[in-house]
């Protein structure tokens, strides 16, 4: 464990709300609006943290635990997240599973907190959330398994002795330019699948419209209708961390800068993340939200894309 890997998670804690700002600025640019400031989410968080709260009489402690668990799980997940070549403070075989399941834990409690209000709208959002995430999870895990395979193709290690080859840090540190040259198409497919998962899990167009005005059509936003004050701050912050988590997995793949210097690699990934946020803004400005019935099809295709990449890598 070296200094950069210790500092990077804290940097992520500070920088993550910026991504939402970039997305919103891009959308404003496309719409020809002045738009909100780049640091709007920071201002929002500071304002919300200074507020009181209103709780529904229907709710129990689950409703208050929801935001807390969500944020705690997101921060824990940051500790296994590499920045491209710069490894995470915790790295061990199978840490990708921990990351995926910590996001599952976030979702579990967000959904329960939504159901705790007894509101039909929040129930509806929760129902859609669990449906889409159940389909996104295989796509994410198979995609990462394929990425793991792309990095170390030359020598197959004896089973049981992976020496960190199955950790996110191990996987991402080996996804260098060479890996792209030798198995570019497959990695492109994985990147595509991860980007779809990134958009779906962060409730972005074409899956969900964070700015829609009609509660009936929302997914994530409708689940948090009843939260306010510090609770809402934690939820918004947790959501930006989740965007950072899945964004880094995608950006670390598409930016194959592996200099060996952790700071350089991390900066490259950060640039990639900003690009990804920009891209999200472009997607949101140029596309309409899909009909809810079409969403599963897109997610399943992301799963197939991951599978295809894995097959390509296994039998080349």
């Amino acid at each position: 464990m070296n200094t950069p890997s210790l500092i990077l998670p804290f940097l992520a804690l500070i920088l993550s709300p910026l991504l939402v700002g970039i997305v919103n600025r891009t959308k404003a640019f496309f719409a020809g609006r002045t738009g909100q400031p780049l640091f709007q989410l920071y201002f929002d968080l500071a304002k919300l943290l200074r507020k009181g709260a209103v709780y529904s009489k229907t709710t129990s402690w689950i409703f208050r635990a929801g935001p807390v668990v969500q944020l705690a799980a997101a921060i824990t997940a940051l500790f296994v997240l590499p920045w491209g070549g710069a490894s995470a403070p915790f790295h061990f075989n199978g840490d990708l599973i921990l990351l995926a399941y910590l996001m599952g834990l976030m979702r579990f409690f967000t959904v329960l907190a939504a159901l705790d209000t007894g509101s039909a709208f929040e129930g509806m959002g929760a129902s859609r959330e669990v449906q889409f995430s159940a389909l996104a999870e295989p796509a994410l895990l198979v995609g990462l398994a394929a990425a793991a395979h792309a990095g170390h193709d030359h020598i197959a290690p004896p089973l049981g002795n992976f020496q960190g080859a199955l950790s996110l840090s191990g996987i991402y540190s080996s996804l260098s330019m060479d890996a792209w040259l030798s198995s570019g198409p497959a990695l492109l497919m994985v990147a595509g699948a991860l980007f779809v998962v990134f958009l779906a899990e962060n409730s972005r167009i074409p899956f969900d419209d964070p700015n829609t005005h009609l509660e009936l059509t929302m997914i994530h936003e409708v689940m948090i209708l009843d939260h306010g004050g510090p609770d809402l701050a934690m939820i918004l912050y947790g959501a930006s961390l989740k965007m950072w988590l899945l964004g880094s997995l995608t950006a670390g793949l598409i930016v194959p800068v592996r200099t060996g210097n952790a700071w350089l690699d991390a900066s490259a990934v950060f640039a990639g993340l900003c690009f990804l946020a920009l891209l999200t803004g472009v997607v949101e400005s140029t596309m309409a939200r899909l009909r809810l019935l079409r969403v599963p099809q897109l997610l399943v295709s992301a799963g197939f894309l991951s599978t295809l990449a894995l097959i390509l890598l296994l039998w080349r």
Partner: protein, 662 residues
């Protein structure tokens, strides 16, 4: 070994005593439950001893039954199954005393506890018996005892039907086991059907081993509830009293898994075909189990289908293990078997917990129908809290035990892809586990959300209140165990090694060196879990401090401006699951009937959904109807004249004679 015999004797004796006390309800109830608790606790000791020391305890006594001998043995594999059996049974017996008190006056509680303790003893003997005849006998004791427990409320038509389904299914399964043991006995050529003599029986002629494996898969798979032999499970579990469901689902169906594992050790080196068969069975059971569960709106039926799912996960592990062994990759074998075995214990803990929690809900509110419940969190906070732990654990979420066993399986699967050994199997396991995990989380947010959160949906839900301490204590203990395994994950490897060493027939140090690379990741998993808990506690404290001096108000739920929301306007369990059940409607075939609102001032509208089981409708019902049709066609044989029957016998003898001569 003597402790195990003592435990069985205690169970039998207390059962008999409470049977004799049958008339005196409270006496029989207390004595039976106490016997169950003490007997089970005594029984745990030899299991722990075997796992700690790595020795094998044996008891042998000749028996005058043909081919039989009274041969019991506890090795690490038996001990690994004895542990959850006795632990869950002890807690269920403790819970059961108070649960049974409220049963209607005419019920014979003595008989109930007799069969309950007989079931515990039967399960313990099933996993320790080492003779075919003895095994079949205690298997039958276990099955019949559980049949009588399932049909405890036999005044209900639905319970009687469930009982018959169970009885038919378990005996069809046992028929395969009869054939299995006599086939193995014939091949070994030994006088007694002792398991020792079987070893190598399969290796001489390979297709005998294949046939034996197939027979075992069907016979034991029926008990374990693999799809398509699972149809008895969603009938029997809801019909039984809840602590019986907990024992049956948490412990008894595991004897099916035990049977398959024991059979594998007897058949010698497995072929890849067996591994693929197990993997396919695990995948189908896992995914279909959780899908059927999603469509249910009775809480115990939902849990029963989740047992099918979890048996699927265990079988995925066993399948990986067998594939690892047959292809010569011991590390894959160790991780697959290890993950599967750990999931056996984990499932016993969280499914026992969930059934006990469902039992409290049923006991207090009088209904298990999800759509009639709601808001119980405020009335029974402890039950709700422990149920939440169980729900998170069964969804495989960190930092609880379900995650640890699934993590081991993922590790094996990822490793097999990475090393390009059995990569397709690894791929299937990853996709299967990921899909099952997501769907299970959907199902348990639905179950927990509709039962415990929101507003009460009917007057049933208004009735609920916390049960007595002796019912709460088992649930609290079980949820503590769930958390303990999650937070002390690296230590479970040590407990797994002896049993894995038997399954892989590799020496203990070799298994230890194969599984020890998994220790470091598990340590980090536990560290991550602790970090998460610390962070959550810190954030909760922070939130409390921030709100301490501010205005915190209570108001109604903001229903998008609607002023007078009612409890009936909440999202229902069926609506919550509907997007997913619609997606898989080809498999689920949920029956819907809709009365549309009509006219300008509609007064009535209704939507009924009835979850069905594809296999019941398409396979078993036609099959049994066919059997019945055939039986009716052959009724003319049964005239009722003795002379005619003597003629049949004579004709049969003649036919046999001719067949033998030719």
């Amino acid at each position: 070994m003597s402790l195990l015999l003592l435990a069985v004797a205690l169970l039998g004796f207390s059962g008999l005593c409470s049977l004799l006390l049958g008339g005196k309800r409270s006496g029989a109830n207390t004595l039976g439950a106490a016997g169950g608790v003490v007997g089970s606790l005594v029984g745990i000791l030899p299991a722990i001893q075997v796992l700690r020391t790595g020795t094998t305890a044996t008891f042998y006594h000749p028996w005058n039954v043909p081919y039989g001998s009274f041969f019991l043995q506890i090795d690490a594999l038996s001990a690994f199954f004895l542990l959850p059996i006795f632990l869950l049974s002890a807690l269920a017996a403790l819970y059961g005393r108070q649960y049974m008190e409220s049963t209607p006056g005419g019920k014979n509680l003595g008989a109930f506890w007799f069969f309950f303790n007989l079931l515990i003893a039967g399960m313990a003997l099933v996993v320790t018996a080492r003779n075919g005849i003895l095994f079949l006998m205690v298997w039958e004791v276990m099955s019949l005892a559980s049949f009588f427990l399932v049909t405890f409320e036999n005044e209900k038509e639905s319970v009687r039907r469930a009982g018959w389904t169970y009885l038919a299914a378990t005996h069809l399964g046992t028929a395969f086991l009869f054939v299995l043991f006599f086939l193995l006995g014939r091949e070994s050529g030994a006088v007694l059907l002792d398991f020792d003599s079987f070893s190598g029986a399969g290796s001489r002629v390979s297709h005998v081993a294949d046939v034996a494996f197939f027979l075992g898969l069907v016979g034991f798979g029926t008990k374990a509830g693999f799809v398509p032999f699972h149809v008895w499970l969603p009938e029997a579990h809801p019909a039984a009293p809840s602590h019986v469901s907990a024992v049956m689902s948490g412990a008894m169906i595991k004897t099916g898994i035990y049977g398959i594992l024991r059979l594998l050790t007897l058949l010698g080196t497995p072929t890849p075909g067996w591994g693929w068969a197990l993997l396919a069975m695990g995948l189908v059971s896992g995914i279909l189990g959780v899908l059927f569960a999603l469509a249910q709106h009775d809480i115990k039926r939902l849990l029963a289908y989740h047992s099918v799912e979890n048996m699927g996960i265990i079988t995925l592990g066993v399948g990986l293990g067998v594939l690892g062994m047959s292809s010569g990759h011991p590390a894959l074998a160790a991780l697959g078997f290890g993950g599967g075995l750990l999931h056996v214990v984990n499932h016993a803990l969280f499914k026992g917990l969930l059934f006990l929690g469902a039992g409290v809900v049923l006991h207090e509110t009088g209904t298990g129908e999800l759509e009639h419940l709601g808001g119980l969190m405020k009335k029974m906070p402890w039950t709700a809290g422990t149920f939440l732990v169980g729900a998170a654990a069964i969804s495989g979420l960190p930092p609880l035990n379900g995650f640890v066993s699934e993590f081991l399986l993922y590790l094996g699967a990822l490793g097999s892809i990475e090393a390009q050994t059995m990569a397709p199997a690894g791929f299937l396991v990853i996709v299967g586990l990921a899909l099952i995990g997501g769907l299970a989380a959907a199902c348990f947010t639905k179950a927990f959300g509709t039962v415990f959160l929101g507003e009460p949906r009917s007057e049933h839900a208004l009735r609920g209140h916390e049960p007595g301490r002796s019912m709460l204590l088992p649930m609290v203990l079980l949820s503590l165990f769930c958390a303990l395994i999650g937070l002390c994950a690296p230590f479970v490897i040590g407990a797994l090694c002896p049993a894995v060493s038997i399954l892989t027939s590799m020496p203990f140090p070799r298994v230890e060196s194969l599984l020890s690379p998994a220790k470091a990741p598990l340590l980090w998993v536990s560290v991550g879990g602790i970090l998460f808990l610390v962070l959550a506690a810190g954030l909760a404290g922070l939130c409390r401090r921030l709100l301490a001096r501010r205005r915190v108000e209570q108001a109604g739920t903001w229903d998008c401006g609607y002023v007078k929301p009612t409890a009936r306007m909440q999202y229902t369990a069926s609506s919550f699951a509907q997007p997913l059940t619609r997606m898989f409607d080809g498999i689920l075939r949920t029956r819907e009937s809709l009365d549309r609102p009509e006219g300008l001032f509609p007064v009535y509208a209704a939507l009924k959904t009835e979850p069905r089981d594809l296999f019941n409708d398409l396979v078993y019902r036609p099959l049994f109807l066919g059997v019945e049709w055939l039986a009716l066609r052959l009724r003319w044989l049964q005239e009722g004249h003795v002379q005619l029957y003597v003629l049949y016998i004579a004709l049969t003898l003649l036919a046999l004679l001719i067949w033998n001569l030719s």
